[in-house]
Amino acid sequence: MKCKQIKEKFADYLIGEIDEVTQKEIQEHVTACSSCREELESLSAIWIKLGVLPEEQPSDNVRARFYATLEEYKQNMQEEKEKPRLGTLMDGWFERWIPRRPAFQFSLALILVVVGLTAGYFLHAGVQGGGEIAQLRQEVRQIRQITAVSLLRQESLREQLRNVGLSSQVELPDEETLADFLRRVDSDITTDSRLAALDALFPQSPAIRRQLSLSLSEQTSPLVEIALAFSQHVAKF
């Protein structure tokens, strides 16, 4: 081996993590090479010297502190174990209230279902009969009527088309709205607007049907004529 390879093994040689063959090679090399011999001697000298450094004993304070810490830790662990958990408390509470016999358990379940259904029924009825809810519904209906009428009066074709959807949501239109819709079916300049007004009037009362049958002679658009005829036909059923 060359000097560089030999020197790389010096640490192994000093520490003792080396096989016998390599150890012999190093010894043979340093016998012949003075440079490597000097370096190994220098390293060995300081390595051996380190052996004089004594192992010291810590003060008793270290032991006392450790055992105090350990004792405190054990106590904390014990307290953690004894601390009642929410889950355990809930389990105990339920155990006290739930009957042990299956027959009683079934009865209890049945009673709870009946109580739940009854409560639900009364709550629902309360909501249905609520004056405020009825008033709100009435207001929403009026808003829809106003919106539908105002949209039918729009000049733009796009706005008129929008009213097709809205007018169909109008429920129980009042007389003024009905008159406006009938006037639209008779005389509106656009076919789409006439159809939308007709859509809003459907399903009609016999009086409106009569008005609409008179309107048939006023129509120029085949589409509106067909729609009127269709509405008359459907209304008979």
Binding site: L43, V52, L53, E55, E56, P58, V62, L70, Y73
Partner: protein, 185 residues
């Protein structure tokens, strides 16, 4: 006691039988104390660090894997405790102030004074090394860790550890030579 029983004890500590840590403390607290003492050169700080290590063992006991060698795991905690200590202190503790004890032995027999001076010189030479080199010498020379164990502890290759030990011994020799006034003994 063999190392397997160290691991078994630590597994028991991990699983809640924390009293077993007392056995491990009795086995390793002196070794840890000397590790810290050679790193810091200060007895008080070394005692605090030993305490810190066992507090951490309790704190992180759940993270112990049964297949890890206990001493490697313990040294890993010890190294982290020392690094955290240095971060808190911002700079490395001066080892000289602790090791300068030879002067108090002036009335002792000459051979004892000479031995004390030799020890002080070696400690000062160690203190002159950067932490990385000082630590690797302490681990291999005083804590008797193998290359493989040091590499595992430091998270590096065995070849890197070998090269570092070689350089560290060389630098230690130079530092000792300078402290001896250039007189090789």
């Amino acid at each position: 006691m063999n190392k397997t029983s160290d691991n078994n004890l630590m597994v028991q500590v991990r699983d809640g039988n924390v009293e077993k840590l007392a056995v491990l403390f009795e086995r390793y607290h002196v070794m840890l104390y000397n590790f810290f003492l050679r790193l810091t050169g200060n007895r008080g700080i070394s005692e605090d660090l030993v305490q810190d290590v066992f507090v951490r063992v309790l704190k992180y006991r759940a993270s112990y894997q049964g297949q890890d060698k206990f001493t490697i795991w313990l040294y890993r905690i010890a190294r982290n405790a020392h690094i955290d200590f240095l971060r808190k202190r911002k700079d490395e503790v001066s080892l000289g102030e602790q090791w300068d004890e030879a002067h108090s032995l002036e009335s002792s027999p000459p051979e004892k004074v000479e031995q004390a001076q030799e020890i002080a010189r070696l400690n000062l030479a160690l203190a002159k090394l950067p932490l990385k080199k000082r630590e690797v010498i302490i681990l291999s020379r005083f804590q008797n860790l193998k290359y493989k164990e040091i590499a595992e502890l430091k998270g590096c290759h065995i070849g890197t550890v070998k090269a570092l030990i070689h350089r560290s011994i060389k630098d230690l020799g130079k530092a000792y030579f300078e402290l001896s006034g250039g007189m090789a003994s």
